[in-house]
Point group: C2
Chain length 354, copies 2
Amino acid sequence: MDLSERQLQILQAIITDYVENAEPVGSRSIAKKYDLGVSPATIRNEMSDLEDMGYLTHPHTSAGRVPSDKAYRLYVNELMKKKNLSAKDKRMINDRLSASRDEFDRTIRHAAELLSEITHLASFAMTPATNEETISFIRLLPVDERTLILMIVGESGNVTNTTLRLNVPYTQESLELLSKNMTVSYKGRTLDDVLKGEIIHDVGSDIEALSQLRGSVMPSFLRTLEDMLNVNLYMEGMTNIFNLPEYTSIDRARDFMELFARKDWFTQKMLARDDGVVVTIGEENDTMKDCTLITATYHVDGKLVGKIGVIGPTRMKYDEITSIMEYLTNNLSESFRLPGSTGDGNSGDKKQKK
Amino acid sequence: MDLSERQLQILQAIITDYVENAEPVGSRSIAKKYDLGVSPATIRNEMSDLEDMGYLTHPHTSAGRVPSDKAYRLYVNELMKKKNLSAKDKRMINDRLSASRDEFDRTIRHAAELLSEITHLASFAMTPATNEETISFIRLLPVDERTLILMIVGESGNVTNTTLRLNVPYTQESLELLSKNMTVSYKGRTLDDVLKGEIIHDVGSDIEALSQLRGSVMPSFLRTLEDMLNVNLYMEGMTNIFNLPEYTSIDRARDFMELFARKDWFTQKMLARDDGVVVTIGEENDTMKDCTLITATYHVDGKLVGKIGVIGPTRMKYDEITSIMEYLTNNLSESFRLPGSTGDGNSGDKKQKK
DNA sequence: GATTAGCACTCTCACTTGATGAGTGCTAAC
DNA sequence: GTTAGCACTCATCAAGTGAGAGTGCTAATC
């Protein structure tokens, strides 16, 4: 049972109005503001039908109507039109991103900042990495007689390091040997694979000092690998949500903030999402049932993907925000393209349900 | 004009009660709960005097009294006694810290976690570093033909790195040469010094490729140095404050959260504080005038200092919290001591005003 | 002179009441 | 199918009320 043209118009009007004012919208104000050529009474009848079909809800008898998740879904899939960014926003994005184009992390961080500034929502960005990231090399660097740095570098240029203090001094040679040794053992393997798989014991354990050093380093190696899964995640504008009427209750604000304290959990959640612009609304999320989450992917050399996203209440300007994110990710992919390559990296605008 | 013994008793009772219940305390409840041997009326008279002297305030005519910053200051300096930690807390601290004793960053992060769990306040911890940190070496590591990692290591084992993408390919040799080159130029110099000083141009610029590479790397080098000033700062339990009656107003909660979004500012603030256990109360802080901030320092090999701290409303359990922090920092300093060294690293308990 | 009992006074808080206004749902007329 | 009209519902606000907690003052007491 499809919606009639008029029903769609009314629904769109309600969504537009509610997104703007955050208050239940009544039949009379729709009739006044949006020129639909019918009286409030007619609109009331249609609204009642829309409610029966699950597109609207009713906080209480005599409040106006509020769009449901289902309504937003319909809006995102069918109704909304792409918005053009303002010249000011475009300029801002171009300027800020080009300022640090040669540094991955910084560019990504700037992207998150931009996103939260423009949308006035909470945003995040992560450097390109996946569960399938493979190890490129492992390096142990001396600091002082007992202190050393363990560094793991992924294929994508992701780096994680930790500073270790050993109980016994090490020698420069054993350090270099172990670096090479470990690189040989783990190069090309994915993080998941190494974490779940057997630890490789049998390499070069003929030398006493080496195997001792190895024993001290291994536990930290594994823990650091785990950290590496949690890539570089930048979060920005978390406090923006305090300005929204949805979060004037301290409890909801707390819940919101607590979600983001668990960075590792959050990262895994986001990594699991599909490519392209993905919108999940309210109940479609397993946690955060009153939030909408929009993620988009950018590409490096047309292959590796990183993600950016915004989080806010289901009441948000879907059209503007998805357009901004599309522009932003295209811009990012553009600047991370190898000169000469052409691939557009499958940046299709899917908007699909998760 | 000193306070009489009885006035001190009453003030202490008011503080104890207020810290516990977060509600203005009246003369009658003091007389009932604390056995001072005088009637409410006498207590009222004393309270009135204490208010004249600035130790108490009055939200409105017929509420009870609330301790002022000045009262807390007196309490911290003179009245409070050291608390013994519960066996449970001690065990928890020992267990959790020893689990990752060989890794700096992880241990520090665990310390922050512990602190916020035990105190139910917001906490932070930073790895040892100061504005006087000196550069130990600089390393450039290849990732792919245009991508490389720039890594700066400080004397204390602090590492900062960034992934760069160049416009033109580089050669392995030029990379190694530049690494050595830069290390020679900057080794032993402090971050501040390098950031403020002249950029050194004249080293090895006879080779064309090298000077080009250098030109691409330098801007990032300086930006990354700045990052390094902002050490590793771990924040934990920010959402704890939502449970406090002081922060049920969304505005105050927002202000609080926004303070910590500015990590670099916060780091600099904390680095500037004295060694030992330092308590600054309310107005004594230039920002956060309704917060109390307690920091403490731990030592590595008896020299380098790192900081941990808690932040909360001025109404907090000063005696417990300072005791916990003392125990925790002693424990940290202990595990970061070079085997054989003895220095206790000046871990005096100063409690001084900033 | 210090301490205390007594009492009037102040202020907050929770609760009630009534008026107002926005909005719906139904019915009957167009 | 559309619309006007009207009764009904519910949230919100302001004003009013009583209870409770606490102070500040005064006069009596130790």
